[in-house]
């Protein structure tokens, strides 16, 4: 259980760090792939509006999922810590 929780914590941290970096730095993708700079969206060039949208709603979306996932993970950790504490008390008795 504890190994599973530890691995889960690592993966959550890595995945959400990468997602946050991607949403905040999406302009870099348009520099790496200049062919993406040709389209338009809502009248704006895509290389302008997509980073703005990702920098607002993209980040908010990632933060929302991150909050749900991390808060659920906290519940699992708390349950594990509580169980561990009880086991220690029983062992002492």
């Amino acid at each position: 259980m504890k190994d599973k929780l530890y691995r889960k914590e690592m993966w959550i941290t890595v995945i959400f760090s990468v997602l946050l970096l991607l949403t905040g730095h999406s302009a870099s993708i348009f520099v790496l792939f200049p062919s993406l700079q040709t389209g338009t969206m809502w009248g704006f060039p895509t290389q302008y509006i997509v980073p703005i949208l990702l920098g607002w709603f993209g980040i908010a979306g990632v933060c929302l999922v991150m909050t749900l996932v991390c808060n659920k993970f906290d519940d699992e950790m708390e349950a594990f810590a509580e169980e561990n504490k009880k086991e220690k008390i029983i062992a002492k008795e």
Partner: protein, 544 residues
């Protein structure tokens, strides 16, 4: 200071600012009645709910630059500066994910509280000194902007404006402590957002845009005219390395900003801190998108009317004076003032926490909390007065760029916090050596101190982007490699992490009393990180 901006009726401007300050003082006074302990003073009693905290986080992050500086830079550099600004919205989510909630769990007042628990006293002094320097630079920049805003608004000399604005500001922040700073910041964010967005609707309508009903995203119909007037406006202009260099300097730097971290620590719980971040990203996204439309409209204004904006940092105000009634223009000025105040509030609270709690905790560990709190009040007041005094005749080095200071923070403090939270092998001596060496190196290779020894040139060097590409990865790599080496040298065993230090890590990650040596102790991943960092370091050394 010659001004292109002038309210037709100065008294309206004075009235708006006086009303705002009455509200700030009233909030500060009410907050002071709730402040009875150090937890109240430094962390608002760990009681701020997610919406208020989300607003407060956004206000603390969005400084006077959001109203003045960034618009000027968009006018000058166009779209690349928009990209630079966008990525700042991930700073608080990233710091919350990487260490904010862990430190909230240990009820830290500042990031240095953790440094003390994890690395001990000498390391704390090093990190606290770097953080205080950066907070003073930050507050100084805001204080100068505030003085100039009052100068513009009231038409009084800069020095008089500075003293009046500075003392009035320091006064209500000192009275209110973190409770006052939090509630005032939430209110200031609402004022800032309305002042930025709503008047822009009227300006866009006057400019002929059909998207006036939602200024942040609905100005696409102005793009063809813009491209006709400025064909290069949407060009990305720089190579991939320029965009990559934003990560070390401008993403990793703010992650360690104490006044941002302290907003996370004021949350009523770890879960509430995460919800606050969701609100923060929505509120800040709205405000920042307003900033981009002002930058766009400023460029459009100059191109379509043929007028030249000689002081680009006044673009928002010039547009409002040109298109909107005096009362609206005065309210926009009030929004700019609120932006400066919310950030100064955060800066001064950070200085108070760093001195009153962290530094006094090292120098006088037996001092009782009431006395430490008094030191916090004194530090807050002295920090504010220092910023005012420095702002009279600011040393060029200190005000060259707040942005440059982010690179310094990423070099000196970010590795200490991130590796400290995630790696049990992080060594106390390795921290002191890498932080001090790389911090001094960052200053030396910047163009601000020794222009003859400089990595990069022009804007990338002045903003610390090229320097940061060298010293930030070097700092991470040095810290990792030296930690591995020092932990294995018996003569340096005093600096190796103790069992107690390691247990701190397990505890703040939520394991409770369940300690396990192998957790957060791997060597392979840190070595891979160090190798990647060295590759980035050499990339940064290539000619810019």
């Amino acid at each position: 200071m010659p001004s292109e901006y002038a309210l037709s009726n100065v008294w309206i401007g004075i009235g708006v600012v006086i009303v705002l300050f009455i509200i700030f003082y009233a909030v500060g006074y009410m907050a002071s009645r709730k402040t009875t302990s150090d937890e109240d003073f430094y962390a608002a009693g760990f009681s701020i709910g997610p919406v208020t905290n989300g607003l407060g986080m956004a206000a603390t992050w969005a400084s006077l630059a959001t109203f003045l500086g960034v618009i000027a830079l968009i006018l000058k550099l166009q779209v690349p500066f928009v990209y630079l600004w966008i990525q700042w919205a991930i700073s608080i989510p990233l710091l919350t994910l990487l260490y904010g909630t862990s430190l909230r769990r240990m009820k830290a007042f500042t990031p240095a509280t953790f440094i003390k628990a994890r690395y001990g006293n000498p390391s704390t002094i090093v990190i606290v000194c770097w953080m205080i320097l950066i907070m003073i630079m930050y507050a100084l920049g805001q204080m100068i902007g505030l003085g100039r805003a009052f100068e513009l608004l009231f038409g009084v000399p800069y020095n008089t404006a500075l003293v009046v604005a500075g003392l009035a500001t320091v006064g209500f922040i000192t009275i209110g402590g973190m409770y006052g700073a939090s509630y005032n910041a939430a209110f200031q964010m609402i004022v800032m957002t309305i002042a930025m967005i709503v008047p822009m609707g009227a300006i866009m309508k006057a400019m002929g845009s059909s998207g006036w009903w939602f200024p942040p995203l609905a100005y696409g119909d102005m793009v063809p005219d813009m491209l006709q007037a400025i064909p290069t406006f949407f060009d990305m202009k720089y190579d991939f390395r320029w965009y990559f260099a934003l990560i070390p300097a401008f993403t990793l730097g703010p992650v360690a900003l104490p006044h941002l971290a302290m907003r996370v620590f004021t949350s009523s719980s770890v879960k509430s801190a995460r919800w606050a971040v969701v609100w923060f990203s929505m509120f800040l996204g709205l405000l920042f998108s307003g900033t981009y439309v002002v930058g766009f409209a400023g460029n459009y204004f100059t191109a379509s009317t043929g007028r030249v904006i000689a002081s680009p940092d006044q673009t928002l105000l010039i547009l409002n004076v040109f298109y909107n009634p005096t009362l609206v223009a005065a309210f926009v000025m009030g929004g700019a003032v609120a932006a400066g105040l919310s950030t100064i509030g955060g800066n001064l609270m950070a200085i108070a926490g760093l001195v009153g709690s962290d530094l006094m905790g090292v120098l006088a560990p037996d001092m009782d909390t009431k006395k430490k709190m008094k030191w916090g009040y004194a530090a807050l007041l002295i920090g504010g007065l220092t910023a005012i005094i420095l702002a009279f005749k600011p040393p060029k080095f200190l005000v060259t760029s707040i942005l440059w200071a982010f690179g310094l923070l990423a070099t000196t403090a970010t590795p200490a916090i991130l590796l400290g939270v995630w790696w049990k092998e992080a060594n106390k001596l390795a921290l002191i050596v890498s932080s001090t060496f790389c911090g001094v190196l960052f200053i030396i290779i910047s163009p601000h101190v020794l222009p003859s020894i400089c990595v990069g040139k022009g804007l990338v060097a002045a903003l610390g982007m090229s320097g940061g590409m060298v010293t930030i990865p070097l700092s991470f790599a040095m810290f990792i490699i030296l930690s591995i080496v020092f932990n294995r040298v018996s003569a340096l065993s005093a600096y190796a992490p103790t069992l107690e230090d390691k247990m701190v890590i397990d505890r703040i990650h939520g394991w409770g009393d369940q300690y396990e040596e192998v957790r957060y102790s791997a060597i392979t991943v840190p070595i891979i990180v160090a190798i990647v960092c060295m590759a980035i370091f050499f990339w940064g050394l290539q000619p810019w």
